[in-house]
Assembly symmetry: C2
Homo-oligomer: 285 residues x 2
Amino acid sequence: VAQAGTVTIIGVGLIGGSIGLALRARGLADRIVGVGRNPEGLEQARRSGAIDVGTTDLAAGVAGAEVAVVCTPVTRIAGDAIAAAAAGPAGLLVTDAGSTKRGIVEAVEADPRGRAAFVGAHPIAGSERKGVAHAQAGLFEGRACVLTPTARTAPERLRRARAFWAGLGCRISELGPARHDEALAFTSHLPHAVAAALAAAVPADLLPLAAGAYRDGTRVAGSDADLWTGIFLGNRLPLIEALGEFQQQISQFKAALLGADADAIRSWWTAARDRRARFDDPSTT
Amino acid sequence: VAQAGTVTIIGVGLIGGSIGLALRARGLADRIVGVGRNPEGLEQARRSGAIDVGTTDLAAGVAGAEVAVVCTPVTRIAGDAIAAAAAGPAGLLVTDAGSTKRGIVEAVEADPRGRAAFVGAHPIAGSERKGVAHAQAGLFEGRACVLTPTARTAPERLRRARAFWAGLGCRISELGPARHDEALAFTSHLPHAVAAALAAAVPADLLPLAAGAYRDGTRVAGSDADLWTGIFLGNRLPLIEALGEFQQQISQFKAALLGADADAIRSWWTAARDRRARFDDPSTT
């Protein structure tokens, strides 16, 4: 992986900050610029080592950059990516770290300079915590990063995007933007919705009797409300489909329970247990 | 906590084995006897230090015991508790570690010797792993243990049961057996069912794109099928009610998503996030 000159990180929170720390730890950039809306947040990012310099002026921040990586909430990514492409040098690669892709890629590709510069990306790593204070240099190591090129993506930018994300330690795969969103509806957005539903379903006065199953099953319900409202709305129809599949699983279990059908409960549980085992060890069939 | 003479553990798996290790680490018993159906499992428990001696003969195992603690699967607990009360000395305290209580307590109290000896208990600690190989001396430290005495429970046995479970490090509380089952339907049995439904709802070919939310949300789906079939059937009606509450949460979210209602999604998420925060810190209101 070749070293880049200047990398500009737009949105220096948990994800953007972790990218900065990883670039520094791996010696992958000569200079790391942070763009944010809040000068105090940028100063915190600078002190933590995630960026060398911060600015609230996006156009100034991308001047002279080789790569701009947009790590703002999903509702702002397309606008920030288009602004970076418009203000940056001719050779700028613009990529992002958004959890949804179809809407973002469509919006950016509707803009000619955006289309020429952009490669959508989703590094599948995160935390229920937010902010640069929780950033980690190793956040992306060994994690999947899905690139979502289209027929309109410049091949040269795609090559550079692969190298950029691989340089941070990611395992690279590629999917169309719509296919990405259908997959992530099941693998990430559904688990977040289920965690929140479970968290809320247990009456507050019973929480002293809850233990590990509730704790782990609801961990991600501690995530930021605005962030997740944006992700859910950015992937509505695939998530509605995933919720339907999940509702069928719950209904199937409830029917077996209503019928006091031990065999049906046991085989339902065993199928779920096998699926979980396959997640832990993909060589399981 | 006074030291007991002989404590007999009926069913030496994860829970029974952890009780044995805790009794030994805390010097709470002169002698720890294990009763099981499988001589090899008993020998493994003996080598691990969880028991001093093992036997497949329940009557021989409880002879001379001061306390018998029944740690078999919930479908077998009542029978084992009655057998222990019948075969043991007149002063024997019989307690258990079952995850459901109403059916067990009713069955044991239908037997005069069982009723005189028994105090139902549920130490709320466990793991998705099974077997004495995963037993830990510290499993019960600081964990809740719900005792489920009834109007028919002997006060002297209740005092001894409190001392026994507190001696292992548990925080003791008391609930009627039916109330215990209603509470645990929400705090434990529902989270297990939801974990399994989530595990099964994600198509196998998408698992390489799943990450922390799926991993933590489905952890307990790795638990034993027979064990959980017994628990679910032992607490059918309260669990059906808890599932109904959970289904309403999912339906509420799905309706907000169908209506693309950002405010409704945000306030739904925030209520769930607040409930989860209260679990982590009960001083939160």
